[in-house]
Amino acid sequence: MSDRMQYVAVLGALAVATLALFFVSLTTGPADVGFGESIRALVSGDADLLTLVMREIRLPRALLGLMIGATLGLSGAVLQGYLRNPLAEPGLLGISASASLGAVVAIYTGISVAFPLGLPLAALAGAVLAVLLLRVMAGERGGTLTIILAGVAISAFAGAMTSLVLNLSPNPFAATEIVFWMLGSLTDRSMTHLWLSAPFMLAGWVMLAMLARPLDVLTLGSDAAASMGVDMRRVQFLAVFGTAASVGAATAIAGAIGFIGLVVPHVLRPLVGAVPSRLLPASALGGATVLLAADILVRLIAPGRDLKLGVLTAIVGAPFFLWLVWRTRRRML
């Protein structure tokens, strides 16, 4: 099998898995309704209440799961390629935590009630600050360790500030919502959330997709890439704002969901011949698959408990991260 055929096969398999899980997600929920019945209610629109449930609760949840998963997988693949660092990921680098902080400020001060776009914009601003700070910390040839440590510091700071904002809120519920912002959930998100975040995610995806070839060339390092016609300032702009727009919007709606951006590109890299440009669509589909699966599992494992997505992704992702650290430790020191 030629390597192009293998690539197409991998994308095909991931697309099928994503689609299948999308439908499973649509038909999973606390209300016990059959598969056929719920899809019929969704499409035909004549089953009054069930149609309402399908169109206003299940559909936005499944669509957001798909898009947010794709965002996390894609941005993980881009960050790894851009920083040439196998440990890069929006969660570990503190980008998600900073976006959370932006979203939390917008929501709990009441800005987002008066001005709904303020929510994704504030999350985007938080994410941009985090990426720029990382870029400065990493410098031209930032080592793996420098970037990860900078990410740890950014995460800790953004987490503390988030907690502060929530604690200072006069609303007694705010303080308990730190869990949502740190671990993420898609429970009872609505179409309103989808309309608010989808344009930002799509815009981010377009920017990140434009990085496909530059990321391939960056395999040779930034100097070689620059000598090969890659405009590094443009690459930086696209990477920073593409990641910030998509991850910012995703986090504003679903909280910070970790490890998908780390694990998915890693698992898929060998399957696409390690080619960074090919890893982008594969990781987007892979991220969607994983997040949809996680969101189905939280509903099956603990129905009615609102188990957070980050709990599941961390159970898989954290040991994986440790394994990666163990494997790359020689290169890092």
Binding site: G29, P30, A31, L49, L50, L52, V53, E56, I57, R58, I107, Y108, T109, G110, S112, V113, S169, P170, N171, P172, F173, A174, T176, E177, F180, T187, D188, S190, M191, T192, P303, G304, R305, D306
Partner: protein
């Protein structure tokens, strides 16, 4: 460490020397209540001068029916040190009051009586009766119980429209069997969605289950706050607003049914009135 131990030792000496004397007839004469529900029962039952202090929540009109009356008493914040200095001869607390504070007060030799929150009107009556005994005010307790029974009987005598009611609170929580609010729905003669779904106690009611249950009336169980939180986003969800249109929403002030007392009947009456109005409008 040494200082802490010294303070405890000194307090114990003071406590031993000044242990409050019981009033001659056996009823306590200096009562401190630490919970908004026991505060209100005590205010309803105590004799003049018997109740010394109530908790700060008793003065909050959002949660306390007797907020005005609470101004007549010294306010406490449920802190052990504060209660200790009041030297009460009876401390009344809720079972949700801080464990450590209650244990400490008991170690210091105070008599502490705890009241569990009521899940039924029978429970409310039992709590009133017990409070009456503790305060030596059995007769007043009997009067309150009679008032409560009369109210319940009156509600039961009028036919209620056959409507279903769902309680829906922040974070998608609802109260089912074993909760006072569910007992109020039953007392109002209405059908509780929580009973239909088999919900026991306080549980999450996923929005989609609420939508499919399609209640005739939805009671929003939480007071509003100045600043938003995600907990209240379920009230703005398009699926929720679709089934809980303005004519189906019922707002019952929290203060009427947070605590069990004769005034809890007011919550049932408001609910019955809303149901009657809804049935009328539907016709």
């Amino acid at each position: 460490m040494f200082i802490a131990r010294a303070i405890v030792a000194v307090s114990l000496i003071i406590a031993a020397g000044t242990l409050p004397a019981w009033a001659t007839d056996g009823a306590p004469s200096r009562v401190v209540s630490m919970n908004v529900c026991t505060d209100q029962l005590a205010m309803l039952l105590a004799a003049e001068g018997q109740l010394h202090s109530v908790s700060h929540l008793a003065g909050d009109p959002g949660v306390s029916v007797l907020a005005d009356e609470a101004g007549r008493y010294v306010v406490n914040h449920g802190l052990g040190e504060e209660i200790f200095l009041m030297q009460p001869d009876l401390v009344i607390a809720g079972t949700f009051t801080t464990r450590a504070t209650i244990d400490m007060l008991r170690r210091l030799g105070f008599r502490v009586e705890e009241f569990a929150p009521e899940g039924t009107f029978e429970g409310v009556k039992a709590n009133i009766r017990r409070m009456g005994e503790l305060l030596g005010r059995q007769q007043r307790a009997d009067e309150l119980i009679a008032e409560l029974d009369a109210g319940l009987a009156e509600l039961a005598s009028e036919p209620a429209p056959p409507l279903s009611v769902a309680l829906y609170s922040a974070n998608s929580y609802t109260s089912g069997d074993g909760s006072l609010s569910n007992a109020v729905i039953r007392a109002a003669g209405l059908q509780s969605i929580a009973d239909r779904l088999g919900i026991v106690g306080v549980q999450r009611l996923p929005l989609e289950q609420l939508v499919l249950a399609n209640p005739d009336l939805v009671v929003l169980g939480e007071r509003t706050y100045d600043r938003p939180a995600l907990a209240h986003e379920n009230f703005r969800h398009p699926a929720f607003t679709a089934i809980a249109s303005q004519d189906r929403l019922v707002r019952i002030p929290d203060r009427y049914w947070i605590c069990g007392a004769p005034f809890t009947l007011e919550a049932a009456r408001l609910l019955r009135d809303a149901a009657n109005a809804h049935a009328e409008a539907a016709r």
